[in-house]
Amino acid sequence: MLYAVLAGFAGAGIAPLAHRALGRASGWVLAAIPLALTLYFASFLPAVSAGEVIRWSRAWVPSLGVVLSFELDGLGLIFALLISGIGTLIVVYAGGYLAGDPKLGRLYALLLAFMASMLGLVLSANLILLFVFWELTSITSYLLIGHKHESEKARKAALQALLVTVTGGLALLAGLLLLGIAGDSFDLPLLVARRDLIAAHPLYPAIVLLVAAGAFTKSAQMPLHFWLPGAMEAPTPVSAYLHSATMVKAGVFLLARLAPLLAGSVLWYGLLVGFGTLTMVVSAFLATQQTDLKRVLAYTTVSALGTLTMLIGLGTPAALKAAVVLVGAHALYKAALFMVAGIVDHKTGTRDILRLSGLRTALPITTVGAGLAALSAGGLVPFSGFLAKETTYAALIEFPWLLAASVLANAFGMLVALVVGWRIFTGESQVIPDDPGPVPVALWQGPLLLGIAGLLLGVFGWMGEGIVAHAASDMAGQRVPVKLALWQGFEFEALLALGLSVFTLLLGLAFYKAHGLLLRLATSLDWLYQRGPYRLFDLGLAAFVSLAKWQTQILQHGYLRYYILTVVVTLLPIGVLLAAPGSPVWPVTFGPVGLFETALVAVVLASTAFVMSTDSRMAAVAGLGGVGYGVALLYLSYGAPDLALTQFAIETLSVVIFVLVLYRLPEFRVLTTRAQRLRDAVIATSAGAVMTLLVLAAQSQSGASRVSGFFAEQSVPAAMGRNVVNVILVDFRSLDTLGEVVVLVVAALGVFALLKLRPEGEAH
């Protein structure tokens, strides 16, 4: 099973090369990969329908409990078949749609990589593994939406989709990790077995909220839906595949996968049913306000996703059954309709439904495919869409308000189906400017095959009862009986559902008649779009960038002295710590003070003050020399003749260098204000006090050296040297001295290079 997932990635690797080698036929050839996968997964249908679960696992990251563990159950198989099956048609379709595009090879690669990620996602039985694939779908989606990357709109839409879904992804990650903590495992079947433990865990509410946030962003629940209509900037094969049939269902899939773990609380129920219903109704209405064919379809997709979320939230066996049927039916007809939209766009150069009519003559086969798909979308007998609607209604009978909402949403859906499947194909044939000629097979095969599939699955729905039952049972955590037939018998629920279907149809027709009115409403609702989430996202991004600029002005202003000031200020808390009562520095005693040393200290202090106050650079250098020699004499008086000698030598050298370099440097000028100088003086003095306190504190400790005794004893016998300081330098701590020499050599090289190596074109 791992190879089945990896096949897509491998295909992605060879796709650009294959495309270069095969040219126009590449789509047909590359489609062999998803086709083979479809057949492979289909071969499991009998077993899975019979209730078997196929498992495969290998260690991956045992340290973190991440296992390459895949599981093919009813739910997984339905999704896998949709992903690989529709993927096959899409690859062929893309070859026709983007024929001649130099980046087609890359598009194939991304489509196949996406397919593999999606398969991995639906087959994962390990939370972290699932998340890995989840994020991969986001990133492939980003690159696919941005296929026409030289258009700014496409780039923006891609970014928006990415940021929204990845935000959700991060919430999801946190949620999954918490779930792992609560259940002490990332293994899904194991977690299902521990569901009571999880439900009772204090982290449970946080888990539900975070998981829902992840699912809602991916499955475009309002108010996080706005990226999906924007994503219609992608080439149509991408929209058809990712943004209607598969990726947007990932969120719903996740909810379905985790339902057996997390369902059963008011929180879960409220979140899913609440947001799901809202999304279902509002976006179905918004779909009627659009004139761009793809955006119309995008909003109905959002609506279907809302329905699915609601159904999963309800969690009754009937609702879960309906969810499974709707997933399948919707994927088939929506992908078909998107492909139709692409063909129309391809042929006529527009997607404006108000400017399209009478296309049946120009696009005869497409018309058939579109008609079939639209009938299914409208929920007419005997299409699979009918089954989906019927089972949904049947599931909602106990919930009158939800039922009413669903009827309303479906009626809007009906209107859209009529527009897409009827209105643009009938009526007066239009003149097509720049007609690209007849539509190739690669393009029309998709909608036609999907349309037929939608019909067959409706008529022969009973054949799928086993798999649907297992998929629903996987979600419910209990056995769900499933009967899928166009005629459900004479029970009250069945008859009521049928009656509602008829009512939906009539309501839809009424809406269709009033479509003009609805569209006029759209202009009056413009203000809403101006202030909607889409706009909020833009504003949020702009605000973020402003915040970033503001912060950077404060932290990275470019004034070195304030950088130094910041460092100095960070030292001050140490002083507070050491000056507070109870610190080892207290009481401070001065002890006996030697006259000579006091005089030296005075000299050093005076020289320092002179350096700070003089206006002459050369005088300051002299003062600096005074500081250095004074320090050297201090060393001498405290038993450190080597130090004193070195200090004398270095000081002399320093003064010479200073004199040589300084006359090229500018004169002193007072550039700061009095207040600034005062502030700096206070802060610098405080920092000085911190260092004084540190020295005093160190002196207060016993401080006997743990090592010097060894040096005192071993210098002569072991290292043959009488000057212990020298012995330490050249023997005990020779590595320090090595480093010291290296520093000097490199510094010398650096000075040489600084003086000699000037940028090109500059005279020496």
């Binding site: 400790q701 520093v743 090289l749």
Partner: protein, 498 residues
């Protein structure tokens, strides 16, 4: 055994000396540099294998036993860091041969580059606090020279800030060493750990020293609020230099923080590590916001170094096994990825003659391979699976959740989103959008290969580290265990040779 600890320091130093002798022979210097880098890599890997197999190793320089002489110590953290330094060294050595101009080469670029590596390895391996200072100075002076080499205005101005703030940091570090010696009378880090256990040592003074070191190393690690030197300077030198800086230098600061705050200062973790945790969050946020405000390729990358230092410190602040493993793994991941991104920026600059995002564009169309090689480290940096950055982020987030430090987890997650935003900005501006000026500098096929080779190798390493994460992750966990239980480290250093 002992020689394995010495070789990562001696090899680059020897290489540098050899290259110095070949002052006038550029080609020979290049060859020596490549050979030296390869040898370093070989020794580093051997050291890592040996430490992984036999445990912590120590060797006393000149056979003066610890704590009297200077001891080199390699635990897993040190060995891993040395290996990473060697990997970066090798990649950048190759890249340098392809990109560094003859003028810089004739002024000692190659020898100084290897001295830098010696300084870095020395810092990772030494077991003595003052010796750590010495290696810090070795790598600092080399970095000063490399940064200023070429003498262009931006380089020099950036260097003024870089040099000043790092010298200030060194002065504080050295002061802390002095106070520490005055307090407990030893410099060997293992011995310091033992000596500070003595209840007679004033705990407040210990805390004060710890805070002083936090500031000193914090500057070197580019921690909030003392990171300003980094964005002021890292975008100014040639790409090869910036890449090695970006990969290694701040990480030496992080290493030093990890070392002293796991080995020496673990008395008052509520204060010290709690403070580090808060600072780590601020570092993440200020870095990522800084990046969002930038409009130049390398400036964006420079600010992201800061934000990622925050992640590494987060693990130290949380101070659990998983968290420290997160720090170690993050270091590993980051060093490879960040070096690579700077190398990519160098190629972009070579092609387009600028790194100003507004003037870039079109590279996805014209250079798809380069685009891919950018995308791998960029997405890894943003923590997207299954690349290395994802696992690094996962470890830290998991550790934070387990420790119930939810606020830092939220910060870490939000910052990773903003990092992704930054990476998409680079991607959009440099690769996706149409170039305002379509002209690209011509590159011969050979030149192109020379540029791509190290980048491709590092990108491959990122992918391998992501997909085959287990070995390095297990190593990081073991390294974390060693850090959390320093008794073994102390025993090996003080209790005679193994």
């Amino acid at each position: 055994m002992a020689s394995l600890l010495v070789l990562p320091i001696v090899t680059p130093l020897g290489t540098a000396v050899l290259a110095l002798f070949l002052w006038r022979h550029r080609r020979a210097q290049q060859a020596v540099s490549l050979l030296g880098a390869a040898a370093l890599l070989a020794w580093a890997v051997a050291l890592l294998l040996s430490v992984s197999r036999d445990g912590i190793q120590a060797t006393a320089i000149g056979n003066w036993p610890a704590p009297f002489g200077i001891t080199l110590v390699a635990d897993l953290l040190s060995a891993m860091m040395v290996t990473l330094a060697a990997i970066v060294g090798a990649a950048v050595a190759v890249y340098s041969v392809a990109t560094i101009d003859a003028r810089r080469e004739s002024f000692g670029y190659h020898p100084i580059f290897h001295v830098l590596l010696a300084g870095v390895c020395g810092a990772f391996l030494t077991g003595d606090l003052f010796n750590l200072y010495v290696w810090f100075e070795v790598l600092l002076i080399s970095s000063f020279v490399l940064m200023g080499l070429g003498g262009e205005r931006g380089q020099l101005e950036g260097s003024v800030k870089y040099v000043t703030l790092n010298l200030l940091s060194s002065a504080l570090f050295l002061a802390a060493v002095g106070v520490l010696y005055g307090t407990v009378g030893t410099l060997n880090m293992a011995d310091l750990a033992v000596a500070l256990q003595d209840p007679r040592v004033d705990s407040r003074l210990t805390l004060a020293i710890a805070l002083l070191l936090l500031v000193a190393f914090g500057i070197k690690a580019a921690m909030f609020p003392v990171f300003a030197w980094l964005p002021a300077s890292y975008h100014t030198p040639p790409a090869a230099v910036a890449a090695v800086f970006a990969g290694l230098l701040t990480k030496v600061g992080v290493y030093a923080l990890v070392r002293v705050f796991t080995l020496i200062f673990t008395h008052d973790t509520g204060v010290t590590h709690g403070l580090i945790l808060v600072l780590s969050g601020l570092t993440m946020v200020s870095g990522v916001l800084g990046a969002a405000a930038q409009g130049e390729f390398r400036r964006v990358l420079s600010f992201h170094i800061i934000s990622q230092i925050g992640y590494m410190l987060m693990g130290l602040g949380l101070y659990t096994r998983l968290a420290l493993a997160g720090t170690v793994f993050y270091l590993t991941h980051h060093i490879i990825v960040k070096t690579n991104l700077f190398l990519v920026s160098g190629i972009v600059h070579r092609l387009k003659g600028t790194l100003d995002l507004a003037s870039l564009g079109g590279l996805y169309r014209t250079r798809p391979i380069l685009a891919l090689l950018f995308l791998v480290p960029a997405l890894s940096l943003a923590g997207l699976p299954p690349l290395s950055g994802f696992w690094a982020k996962l470890l830290l987030v998991q550790a934070g959740l387990e420790a119930e430090s939810y606020s830092i987890v939220v910060v870490a997650l939000v910052v990773s989103l903003l990092t992704l935003y930054s990476m998409t900005k680079l991607w959009t501006e440099a690769f996706w959008k149409a170039a305002p000026d379509a002209a690209e500098a011509p590159l011969s096929a050979g030149e192109w290969r020379g540029l791509l080779l190290p980048v491709a190798a590092l990108a491959l390493l990122t992918v391998v580290l992501g997909l085959g994460v287990e070995p390095v992750l297990a190593l990081s966990l073991r390294a974390a265990e060693q850090l959390l239980n320093p008794a073994e480290y102390i025993r090996v250093v003080l209790g005679g040779r193994p």
